[in-house]
Amino acid sequence: MSQTATAVSSSTLTLAKALNAGLRAAMEADDRVLMYGEDIGPLGGVFRVTEGLQARFGADRVLDSPLAESGLVGTAIGMAMRGYRPVVELQFDGFVFPGFDQITQQLAKLRSRSHGRVGLPVVVRFPYGGGIGSIENHSESIEAYFTHTPGLTVVSPSNPHDAYWMIQQAVASPDPVIFLEPKRRYHEKGTVRLDAPGRDLHEAAVVRPGAEVTLLAWGPMVRTCLDAATVAADEGRSVEVVDVRSLSPLDMTTILESVGRTSRAIVVHEAAGSYGPGAELAARITEELFYVIESPVLRVTGYDTPYPPSRLEAEWLPGVDRILAAVDRSLGY
C-alpha cells in the first residue's frame, strides 16, 4: 500500500479494505503500533479487516488473543503505559460489554486521574450497527454508552476515504478512541484519496448541501440519509446531509452552521431513541439556535426495544421512508 500510495493519489476500495490499508499505513509509520484481538491473525478478523497484517508485520505486532475482552482492553492500558500504541479489535458490538469496565472506568480516566501524566493512546475498534441479517448481540448500536463517558473520543467513518484516514488519525491520537465501524457498509466501495485526509478527526462534514432541512447522521446512517435526500430532491425538497463523524467531541461549529442555514434539523441514528445521541444534538441545537429554527429538532431512531430478530430489522431500523416522513413533518411546521 505504501509503495502504491506514493505512486497514485487515489484508489477505489471497500470500507473494509480502506480500514485495512489505513491500519497498515499506521503500523508502517510507527513501530510502536500494535494490534490485538480475537481471530485477527491468520484469519484476518471475522470481517477480514486485519487480513494480511500478521503476515506483513509478524506475530509480535499483530497478536491473536485469548477470548477475553476485559483482558484485551486492560492489557492495552498497560501496554500504552509502556509507550506502545495498541489497536484493539473487539469482535462485535454486543461483545464489548465484558470489556466495558476497562473502557469506561479505566481507559477513559487515567489521564484525568494522573493529572495529565499518563495518556493512553489506545484505539478500541469494533464493527457496530445492524442491517446484516445477523443473530442476537451482533447488531447493537452502543455509541451512547461511550459518548456519555468523559475521556473517551468516539468516532465513526461512513465511507472508505474517511475509514482510511480516520483510523490513522485515531491511532495517532494521544487519547483513547472508540472507533465504530459501520459493519453494514464494510463492503461498499468508494474513492480514497491517498494523498490527503481532507479534514481533521473531529470535524463534521457537509456531505450533501441543501437548503430546507439538515439531516445529521454518522456511520451506517449517512448512506441512508443521502439516499433519502436523493428521493426528497425528486419530490422537490432540498435536504442537506451532515456526516457528524465525531460523536465525542462534537463539531458543533459545522453542525450549527448547517442548521443555521436550513433552520431545520433531523437527527438519524440506529440506536434506541431514548437518551440516545439524538437527544444530545437536539438539546444543543435548541439551546444555541432557539430563535433560528422553525421547527423542533426531530429524531428518527431505532425503537426503545431490544434489537429485533433480523427478519424484522429492515422495518425496525430507520430507513428512507421514515426519514422522508420526518422531513415532511419538519417542513410542515
Binding site: 485469548p66 477470548l67 465484558p98 442476537e136 451482533h138 427478519r311
Partner: protein, 392 residues
C-alpha cells in the same frame, strides 16, 4: 496410548535447577477417561466403567445418528439460503448424547451456542432452533418447561446463570428439608445445573467467576467444557498452557478429562459428576476432549487457520463409527439394524427440511411486547407509529 494424552516433558524436568518443585508435574501427563477406543475396542479405565448395558447403548448410537443428520441438514439449509447462519456440531455428537442420556428429571441445562442436539433430545422442536438461525426469533422457548435454557451468544455469560440457578436449587432443597418434620428425605431428587461452554470461553472473566462462585458455595453445577480445540481461529493453546480440566484445580473444583468422542465414557463421567452434585459434594469440571470437524459457523473459513491434515487426523476418532463398531463386536448391532437406522435418519432428514418452513415469520408488533412486564406510553406510541407505517 489410548487412555492418556502426552503433553511432552514435565516442565520441571527441563534442567532449570530448582524450579521443578514450583511447576505442576501434573501437566506432564494427561489421563483421559476412555472406555471404547477409536477402533471400537473396549478398554478399561481404573476409575470408570460403562454405566449402561450394551443393549441400551444402541439407543445412544441412534441419537447420535439423528442429531448428526439434523446438523448436516441444517448446514445444507444454510447453504441453500434458508437459514442465515448455522454453527455445526459435527464430531461433537457423543458429548451431547452422552450428557443428555444421564440427565435426571429435575436437572437443568444451560447451553452455549452449539448444543442443538441436546435441545432436540430434550424436546425442543427443531423449528424453534431454526427460528434463531433464520432470524425469526431469539430462542424464546419456555426454558423452564424444557429445562433447556435460552442460547447464549455472549461467550461465557451463561455459566454464571447456571451457577446461580444451582445455588437456587440447593437453597430450595435446604428449605424443603428444614420444613420437613418427618425426618424423611424429600421425594423428588434435588436438581443439578449442567452448563456447556467451549475451550475459548474458559478465558472469559465470567467463566472464571462462575468457577469461583460454584466452588465458594459448593453449587450443584456440572461444567461441561467442550474442548473442540478451536475458538473460531484460536487454537486451545492460546487459551491455556495447562490442560483445561486442570484449571479447575486452582479453583478448588475437581477437574477431569474425558474422551469426548466416546459416548460411553462421557456418559460414565457425567453420571459421576451429577451424582457428586446431587449428594452435596459440589461442582465438577468435565473437559470433553473432541474436535470441531467443520467450520466454526457457516460464515467461517477454517482453511485460513488450520491444516487439512489436522482435521483428517480426527476422522478415525469418529464417535458414531466407534460406537457401532463396538456394538457389533458384542453382538448388539448388525446390518439389519444399521439399515433400519439409515432409513430412519433418512426420514428424519425430510422432517428437518420441512421444519425450516414451519418457522413462523415474526411481525414488527411483537418487538414492542414484553420489553417490560407491562408496557409504557412510549412503547405504545412507537408501536402505533411502526405498525401504521408497515400497514401503509
Amino acid at each position: 496410548m489410548t487412555s492418556s494424552m502426552s503433553m511432552g516433558q514435565p516442565v520441571g524436568a527441563s534442567g532449570t535447577a530448582g524450579r521443578g518443585r514450583f511447576e505442576a508435574p501434573a501437566a506432564s501427563v494427561t489421563p483421559m477417561v476412555q472406555l471404547v477406543d477409536p477402533s471400537g475396542v473396549r478398554v478399561d479405565d481404573p476409575d470408570f466403567a460403562p454405566i449402561a448395558p450394551p443393549d441400551q447403548t444402541a439407543a445412544l448410537l441412534r441419537d447420535m445418528a439423528l442429531i448428526r443428520r439434523f446438523d448436516t441438514e441444517a448446514t445444507a439449509l444454510q447453504r441453500k439460503g434458508q437459514l442465515g447462519l448455522w454453527a455445526p456440531l459435527l464430531g461433537q455428537e457423543a458429548i451431547q448424547v452422552g450428557v443428555h442420556s444421564v440427565l435426571g428429571g429435575t436437572d437443568h441445562v444451560f447451553p452455549s451456542h452449539r448444543e442443538h442436539g441436546v435441545g432436540m433430545l430434550m424436546g425442543l422442536p427443531i423449528e424453534r432452533m431454526f427460528g434463531i438461525f433464520k432470524g425469526c426469533e431469539m430462542g424464546d422457548w419456555d426454558a423452564e418447561a424444557l429445562r433447556f435454557h435460552h442460547y447464549s451468544m455472549v461467550i461465557g455469560a451463561h455459566t454464571l446463570h447456571a451457577v446461580g440457578y444451582a445455588m437456587g436449587m440447593a437453597a430450595d432443597a435446604r428449605r424443603e428439608d428444614a420444613r420437613r418434620t418427618d425426618g424423611q428425605r424429600p421425594s423428588s431428587e434435588p436438581g443439578v445445573s449442567v452448563v456447556f461452554h467451549g475451550d475459548g470461553a474458559i478465558s472469559e472473566g465470567d467463566v472464571n467467576e462462575a468457577y469461583i462462585f460454584a466452588a465458594a458455595y459448593q453449587a450443584p453445577t456440572v461444567f461441561i467444557c467442550v474442548n473442540n480445540q478451536w475458538a473460531i481461529s484460536e487454537p486451545v493453546e492460546r487459551q491455556s498452557r495447562v490442560p483445561l480440566y486442570q484449571r479447575a484445580w486452582g479453583f478448588g473444583i475437581p477437574g477431569i478429562r474425558v474422551d469426548g468422542n466416546d459416548v460411553l465414557a462421557v456418559q460414565a463421567v457425567t453420571s459421576w459428576a451429577l451424582d457428586r452434585a446431587r449428594t452435596g459434594q459440589g461442582p465438577t469440571l468435565i473437559e470433553a476432549f473432541t474436535y470441531r470437524m467443520g467450520a466454526h459457523t457457516t460464515s467461517d473459513d477454517p482453511t485460513k487457520y488450520r491444516s487439512a491434515d489436522e482435521s483428517e487426523g480426527w476422522q478415525h476418532r469418529d464417535p458414531i463409527a466407534r460406537t457401532s463398531a463396538w456394538l457389533r463386536s458384542v453382538g448388539e448391532w448388525d446390518d439389519a439394524q444399521q439399515a433400519q437406522l439409515d432409513q430412519d435418519t433418512e426420514a428424519f432428514g425430510a422432517e428437518v427440511r420441512a421444519a425450516v418452513d414451519r418457522v413462523p415469520d415474526p411481525s414488527l408488533g411483537q418487538v414492542f411486547d414484553r420489553v417490560y412486564a407491562g408496557t409504557t406510553d412510549l412503547l405504545e406510541r412507537e408501536r402505533a407509529e411502526a405498525l401504521g407505517r408497515v400497514a401503509r
